[in-house]
Amino acid sequence: MKAAIVVFPGSNRERDAVAALEAASGTKPYLVWHRDTELPKVDLIVVPGGFSYGDYLRSGAMAAHSPIMREVKARADQGVRVLGVCNGFQIITEAGLLPGALMRNGALKFVCRVQHLRVENTDSPFTAKYAKGQIVRYPVAHGDGNYWADADTIRRLEGEGQVAFRYVADDTRADPRGNPNGSVSDIAGIFNAKRTVLGLMPHPEDAVEGLHGNTDGKPMFDGLVEALS
């Protein structure tokens, strides 16, 4: 599997994404600068976390209009898989690859913690290695992760199996809290209609090795490698 990671000024989790992709695929991903207008031939495009352009406007709003995003949209239309994590989710949502919007966290504070999620749909290369309903732990680290869409859109997302991950509480753990940001329907991540694009707030790339305390994110990258190689 060949992957490209799009780097904006202010991206800061691209190194984490490089490490996770390289560990899973054995191949170093390309790093593509925001001013570039072309992408190499790849099977997967990752838009990583961070604070693109400082997020001084609405998070992701400026990056969505950068030169490289036209190319990302064109590739996505051709069916190339796109993964947007955290700021990447905000960017691809602002760019129209996914419906809805990400607002300020309900508590108006940045939140960083390990979060329990339920895998809602395994019919995608991103989630194929999980069991439906499986509870996984990924860290979250964001200030603007409060997913919102109008009622019709939510009905469609729910009805079409486009909800990928949902925040859940887990009473068996030391820290049982659920939804960290007020997202509607506890939505943590969504697919596009064809399930070729995934955007999510939590960070699977920071849960892939023993040092991270759990490896629940690893099946996502292993699944992508398996499906796209």
Binding site: G10, N12, D16, K109, A174
Partner: protein
Amino acid sequence: MSAEATRAQERPVTLELAREFGLSEAEYKNALEILGRVPTFTEMGIISVMWSEHCSYKSSKRWLKTLPTTGPQVICGPGENAGVVDIGDGDTVIFKMESHNHPSYIEPYQGAATGVGGILRDVFTMGARPIANMNALRFGSPDHPKTRHLVSGVVSGIGGYGNCVGVPTVGGETNFHPAYNGNILVNAMTVGVAKADNIFYSAAAGIGNPVVYVGSKTGRDGIHGATMASAEFTEDSEEKRPTVQVGDPFTEKLLIEACLELMATDAIVAIQDMGAAGLTSSSVEMAGKGGLGIELTLDSLPMREQAMTPYEIMLSESQERMLIILKPGREEVAKAIFDKWELDFAVIGTLTDTGNLVIKMYGETWCDMPIAPVSNAAPEYDRPWEPTPAAAEVPDSVFDGYRLSLGEALETLFACPDLASKRWIWEQYDSLVGGDTRFMSGQADAAVVRVPGQTKAVAITTDCTPRYCLADPVRGGAQAVAEAWRNLSAVGALPLAITDNMNFGNPEKPRIMGQFVGAVQGISQACTALDFPVVSGNVSLYNETNGEAILPTPAIGAVGTLPDAMIAVGIAFQQEGDVILAIGEPGSHIGQSLFLREILGREEGPPPPVDLAVERRNGEFVRGLIHAGLVASSHDVADGGLIVTIAEMALASGIGAHLPALDNAHPRALFGEDQARYVLAVRPDVAATVQEKAKAAGVPVTVLGETRGTALSTSAGEIVSLKRLKDVNEGWLPTYMAAES
């Protein structure tokens, strides 16, 4: 703007003006003598910040010189932007801690944010990629009307800056005490890594070499910030808000990437960030260290505001700016990199052989004075000081009338502001970005962060117990160093070096100066005994409001190393049935303990004695056990004593402890804060081996019990359930902050 308009804004240089700028009459006369004339307005501004306490260390220098600063591991000690320590294989750790106290009190969000930004620049200016931030915070009483607002602003400011630049904030400490009501402390620490053969220093070299300005544009923010940081507060301090700078973490992130990219070429001769006193201190220090002169022409300097005067430009503390001396002919290479990152880049001057600082603008010269005489004449005072009188020991009669059950006492302690969970704070910090965080502090006695791309790791801690320092500054200073050393040892790291952030009141008062001198003496003793030199530091004096001083707070930031991040051990119990061992002598010392303050309502007695030889022996023993793979969980005994230590290990895991050895234990044994002690949990099959090794090493070891269930218990039954303890421990801070209006 023109020369005439500039002159119209200037004021006559007189003793009165010098006083307003923070200089004494003697200092003003000295300036006249050195120049042989009355300084210009611009020169007066420059001299006053160069001679401010903040920049000149005039009260502290004499004592700082006595600190041990060398060792085989030290590549660069104090005097540069940060300290550099060898961690083997051609790798180094570069780190420093610095205060941003006064600005954070006046404008907590920006004050704290720019504190983080400033310390980051001190570290990456030397060529390091920052891998971790920490912070040590002291707030006033929770009952004080400003405290909530300050906690909220400082925490958001630290998070807002650190999260955006993509450097994980991996821990720190937070205390509350009424002595900080009018002067909070915000001490920020950054740790970075660099290759030993690619470290950058600040001494300028090469007459004729270009002086380059990069980063953000210069505005009028922060003018005389260094002067403000060198005076006591009064009730009108909020009027000083315009002297607080405004941070831009996005620009800082770009500046980090651009500087590191430039550092990978061979274009740089010297580089320094523009911190306190901005362009003045960076240009004067760089030229001064190189024994050269420097001539700046400010017309082309990137400015954010119109009609700025040379005085304003030289004293501005606008953030995210660096000064670089380039090799000749490398301007284009460098400019291309800063263009890529969309940062300002301007050649603003050259190095000269005159030894003078020359400032030109609008076709005229506004400053032309010799650097060395002015720098060398920076005052150095031997201020009178009084040793702190020894406190009387706490008599056994204090326990008369103590009737609480152990469970009730623990609940009280775990709900007190100093021990209450700080989750509300640290969840606002991105502690994981980079993917190299093994432990944040709280999960282990020190944070453990892997060196990017390698298996080895750096362990980091910040420590100070101000109530100890107030009662006995010498012992308190030594204890802060010993605790930092112990916290590194408790995770299995080899302690390497420290940075000291000395926060004290007004040094012109002999009692306060005595606290400073005592703390330096204590730090010195401990650093020498533990081979733990001071490689960088910062002094913040005049932390007083209306004559009320803070507790003496010599915050220690310390760094150690581990050959493999995965051998590090955290505090959480790992499984039921592990044997719980106490390493060190039984507890006995109750003076200045949290128990005494929180349960018995008394702040008295001497702090616990610090025996550095025992400290070293016990710490080396624990580190050896961890490296041998014999330890499941490890936690040093500190605030609250033995039983609090065990309870924290249980809370971190949800696994309880059965402790028959503590049946009917005296409060001194349970809550005494004697030093050089650890609690370990080990698998039952290695417990005997560990005990034998302890005996062979001459280290006292006691079996306390085993990990079991979901409560703490003795033979007499349950002390307290972990659920109950967790609720009170996690409840205090969110409940307190929820009342923020």
